[in-house]
């Protein structure tokens, strides 16, 4: 049967039979880099269009409908415009940091892609600490944001960056704790182990109510971590013009914009991997017939379907809720999400020890 796994294996075998080891590795690095950049470009175009359409529909508007059929090429046109725009550096900024910051943000999102599993046995790097790697690397992006805010030499940028720092430091905790719930249930940090553990049902259903609470907290926390509304204090338009990327224009701004959407994709991919079984089709216990039918849907469709469903949910949040004030934001984390997720982790541990999960 046709699958991404077969294609990658065929290419790998062909390269190994043609070149020696080092060359193969270099060529595969190149292929992976191209694939990642291609995925980024496609995700940027698709997600921004999706966001604009979803927001329009939720606000009883039409959304982009002029460029191409149904406005399909709107984001392509926007990207072309951003590419040909002048990459301006304001006069009194810290030039080195100012130009470095967008690249740090985008490189962090690229690196986080490494342990993600896009389809059955289709993964860039299967490391045994996959989830830890993702949580560790994704917190580096706040350095890029702080760098952009500081280097811009603009009080709004700096305020936005500081808020972003406070926000990410707080929400990492409950996101991490809800990720830990699944790690406790699975007993492994490796992404492929976590997915294989869900072969007879997703953790969201197998882990009873604590898993659902963990899922809810995870979704709320990652919405905050990606700096999206209702937690978009870092770039609160009405207060801080555009927050940390006020001074950016052209392609450097586009990199920040792209990183935001790719980060949304990544956190949703992690959420679908942990709670919804990644590429694993919907399997229910021992119903062999039902499970067999579900296996006919290709695994990458399952993965992207779940991920895009979660992205839709996060967009749904954005276009429903008003923005929180900074004290409300920190209240929500430290007084509600963190105690609940700590208590929840204990419950999950009890479930895991007593083997109450299915």
């Amino acid at each position: 049967m046709w699958s991404l796994e077969n294609i990658s294996n065929t290419i790998d075998n062909w390269l190994h039979s043609t070149f020696n080891g080092t060359t193969v590795m270099l060529i595969e690095f190149l292929i992976i880099a191209l694939l990642v950049i291609g995925l980024f470009a496609v995700l940027g175009l698709v997600l921004i269009l999706m966001e604009r359409k979803v927001s329009a529909w939720m606000q009883v508007r039409l959304g982009p409908n002029r460029v191409g059929p149904g406005g399909m090429f709107q984001t392509v046109a926007d990207t072309l415009k951003l590419i040909v725009k002048e990459g301006m550096t304001p006069l009194k900024v810290d030039k080195f940091l100012f130009n470095l910051a967008p690249f740090i943000v985008i490189i962090v999102s690229m690196v986080v892609l490494a342990p993600l599993m896009f389809a059955k046995n289709f993964q860039i790097w299967d490391i045994n600490i996959g989830i830890l790697f993702i949580t560790a690397i994704s917190s580096i992006s706040v350095i890029g944001i702080l760098m952009a805010g500081w280097a811009s030499n603009n009080k709004y940028s700096l305020l936005g960056a500081m808020r972003s720092g406070a926000q990410i430091v707080s929400y990492e905790l409950s996101a991490g704790l809800s990720v830990l719930c699944i790690v406790v249930l699975t007993g492994s940090l490796r992404i492929s182990d976590i997915i294989n553990a869900q072969a007879d049902g997703w953790w969201l259903f197998k882990g009873h109510i604590p898993a659902m609470i963990a899922f809810l907290i995870f979704i709320i926390a990652v919405t905050a971590e990606t700096n999206r509304a209702p937690f978009d204090l870092a770039e609160a338009e009405s207060e801080l013009t555009a927050g940390f990327h006020t001074e950016y224009s052209g392609m450097k701004f586009a990199l920040f914009f792209l990183a935001e959407y790719v980060n949304v994709f990544i956190v949703c991919a992690i959420g679908s991997t942990l709670f919804l079984g990644g590429w694993m089709p919907l399997h229910i216990g021992n119903w062999a017939g039902f499970n067999h039918v579900m296996d006919y849907v290709p695994s990458f469709l399952w993965f992207f379907g779940k991920t895009f469903f979660l992205i839709f949910v996060i967009m749904w949040f954005r276009w429903t809720f008003p923005r929180l004030r900074i004290d409300q934001l920190l209240n929500l984390e430290w007084k509600y999400l963190l105690p609940i997720s700590m208590f929840n982790l204990i419950l999950v541990t009890v479930i895991a020890i007593l083997r109450w999960h299915f």
């Binding site: 979803v54 329009a56 939720m58 606000q59 009883v60 039409l62 749904w316 276009w319 429903t320 509600y336």
Partner: protein, 160 residues
């Protein structure tokens, strides 16, 4: 344990009200065709019907003999809040040898106009009115400065 009860009530209440909000936006997202209130840009020029009081730009009415009703009284110029209209007058010699003030050039700066309609209300002879055009973008700013009276036009007989 009262605080714990309040705490749990808080959390559940927040969840419930959040879900209520999401239900509304979710309903809109699924029924966006039915609920849509956006007016489309008027592409259908042939069938387009604009409201009677639509204000596009100021025009001067001329009849088939190329005559207008403007006496050059500058009431519109005085009524305009932002200096959009500039009236240049001249003196006509009437057949019985008297000098009479008349309109020479009616300069209208579309780029300054806010379509407030005050000039039309100020006009004592109904010489100007609001047109229904709405696509005013040009490549040269000078094209926005218009002369409203046609070349060679003169005031209609009997309009004072």
């Amino acid at each position: 344990m009262a605080f714990l009860k309040d705490y749990i009530k808080d959390v559940l209440g927040a969840l419930r009200s959040s879900l209520r909000g999401m239900r509304l936006t979710g309903y809109y997202a699924l029924h966006h065709k039915k609920e849509n209130i956006t007016q489309q840009y008027p592409d259908n020029r042939d069938k387009l019907v604009l409201p009677e009081r639509f204000r596009g730009e100021v025009v001067m009415l001329h009849d088939e003999k190329n005559e207008h009703a403007c006496t050059g009284c500058t009431a519109c110029e005085l009524a305009c809040p932002n200096g959009t209209i500039k009236i240049i007058t001249k003196f006509d010699i009437t057949p019985d040898g008297k000098k009479k003030k008349a309109l020479d050039t009616f300069v209208y700066h579309l780029e300054l106009c806010t379509m407030c309609n005050l000039c039309i209300e100020a006009c004592p002879t109904n010489a100007i009115k609001m047109a229904q055009t709405f696509e005013h973008s040009v490549f040269d700013r000078n094209k926005l400065t218009k002369v409203l009276n046609n070349p060679g036009s003169k005031i209609r007989e009997g309009v004072e």
